[in-house]
């Protein structure tokens, strides 16, 4: 065998940077240990929001970053997840741990139903179509009496903390751990996806659909697969959020702002990169929460002005997002020379 070929074949498929693995392991342990050091309620809430938004952004990253389809209506799947757990718990007493999966299933069905016609569109046409779909969900739920119409659903509160009802009134720490575990599982699965045959093929669809077609890739099917995966990641966050605040209404869980924020987080952190949504969420969520504290209400929309400013700066100076500050051979797929 040619020696250069033999050397190439003997290379590991992926970089295994032990230092990075150690740092990540340390960070995970630290995240599990943080509540034990008596974090106050605000910091627990802050981390819960970071975990939640990071997963939501990761969901958007799968459809937009991996397969190249810009969805502006992803909040719909968040709302479906929220309503699924709240409605089935209130009406039939079904534990949220089961209805989370029901929410994922319903979201997947809607992703297929929406995806089959919509993913024939491309570029801004798909984006506009998804924007309208997202808004239409909000309008439908505002008028749907079965699920409380515009007033929404007030989840029946348990008298005490309950793991089966996923309700914790005495401390936010259990919520912290639930969101953290979902966050870690999601990132691990998406990390696996990015390194799988499916991940390679989705990136091919993103980079050049025609070239992908010439390589036996059914572009439409792969876009739908990405959309379904993305929807199934988003829905559980809606479910957990509903259990966290115990009151949901269409304006809150189907709000267009949800779709926009996950986009901003992903683009800021680094679209198409598994680590981008983590970095984006870790920066934008605290800005949002602190502006809410210091400026009152919803933050006087100052958080959105900050988002806009940061995004403009990033787009001009770091179009690949903040992740581009980290050397590629550390966190990226293997690209060393």
């Amino acid at each position: 065998m040619d020696s250069k070929l033999a050397i190439a074949k003997s290379e590991p498929i992926w970089n295994t940077n032990n230092r990075v693995i150690s740092i990540l392991a340390g960070l995970i342990i630290l995240l599990f240990a943080l509540p034990l050091f008596g974090m106050n309620s605000f910091y627990l809430h802050l981390f819960i929001m970071i975990f939640m938004h990071a997963v939501m952004a990761q969901s958007w990253n799968v459809i937009a970053g991996f397969s190249g389809q810009i969805s502006l209506g992803h909040g719909a799947f968040f709302g479906i997840g929220a309503y699924a757990t709240s409605f089935f718990y209130m009406e039939y007493g079904i534990t949220p741990w089961i209805s989370i999966f029901f929410g994922m299933f319903v979201s997947a069905i809607f992703a297929v139903l929406i995806g089959i016609p919509m993913l024939r569109l491309s570029g801004h046409y798909f984006a506009i179509a998804t924007l309208l779909i997202g808004i239409s969900f909000q309008v439908v739920f505002q008028r749907w009496d079965l699920v409380g119409a515009a007033s929404g659903l007030w989840v029946t509160m348990t008298p005490e903390d309950s793991w089966s009802a996923l309700q914790f009134h005495s401390s936010k720490a259990p919520y912290y751990y639930v969101f953290l575990i979902f966050f870690l599982i999601t990132f691990f699965l998406v990390w696996l996806l990015s390194r799988s045959k499916l991940g390679y093929r989705l990136r091919a669809v993103r980079d050049d659909p025609q070239a992908a077609l010439s390589l036996c890739i059914n572009v439409s099917n792969y876009k739908i697969i990405a959309y379904v995966i993305s929807a199934m990641i988003m829905a559980p966050m809606g479910s957990l959020f509903a259990q966290y605040i115990l009151i949901i209404d269409p304006d809150r869980v189907f709000n267009i702002e949800i779709s926009i924020i996950v986009l901003l987080i992903t683009v800021l952190g680094g679209i198409g990169n598994v680590w981008g949504p983590i970095i984006g969420a870790a920066i934008l969520v605290p800005i949002s929460e602190y502006s809410r504290i210091y400026l009152g209400g919803t933050g006087g929309a100052v958080d959105l002005i900050f988002y806009g400013l940061i995004l403009m700066i990033i787009c001009i100076f770091r179009p690949n997002g903040l992740i581009s500050f980290i050397p590629k051979d550390i966190l990226e797929r293997k690209k060393q020379r």
């Binding site: 091919a204 050049d208 070239a211 010439s214 390589l215 036996c216 198409g272």
Partner: protein
Amino acid sequence: MKILTVENLSKSFGGIDANKDISFDVEEGSILGVIGPNGAGKSTLFDLITGFTKPDTGKVKFFDKNIFGISPDKISNLGVGRTFQKLKPFADQTLLENVMIGAFVKEKDIKRARDRALEIIDFVDLIEKRHHFAKELSTGQRKRLEMARAMAIDPKLLLMDEVTGGVDQKTIPGLVELVKKLKKTGVTIITIEHNINIIMEISDNVLALDQGKRIAFGEPKEIQNNKQVIDAYLGTFDAA
């Protein structure tokens, strides 16, 4: 054995015939050169055969299977690979990743797909560039990338659109040698070329098109002496 049979293939865009009643066949293991002036319908013919454009009428058979109007992914899955006139590398992915995406058609396991991709990259003499992003490669190297990526699906028939187009003089001989090397692997090739000397050198048969119509089909020497071809395309071609 005939690997491809095209009969009366036609396609018009807004009343203008891009291809009109094109018929020819290709023997397995041979190279068919397609020539014609700009706008003759060469690339459209590729798109019709590979399913990227739906033909209006006619027949396209790959071995005994009718592939008329089938989607491009299904046609490529049958063993028809192609490259593009306007190069289409997956720009933000490495050369190795580009070829692996093709290799996944035959290899489900990631390591085996990687090894197969490396063998093909070595075949096209780019092994040292395997970790370079496609966007970092020169035009000639990208041509090799596209050939490698198409080879990775293990095609029986490979359609190559202007292999030497847009590259400098020094790069051309290497690409021509690569096409000859490809032929030796047993793959059947249809290639569009503007460089007549190259077409005459590598082709077993030549199909000449003009204004969407077939004006000649035969061995290179016949084509060289065909008056219609000379009038339409070759002009003052130096037969020596």
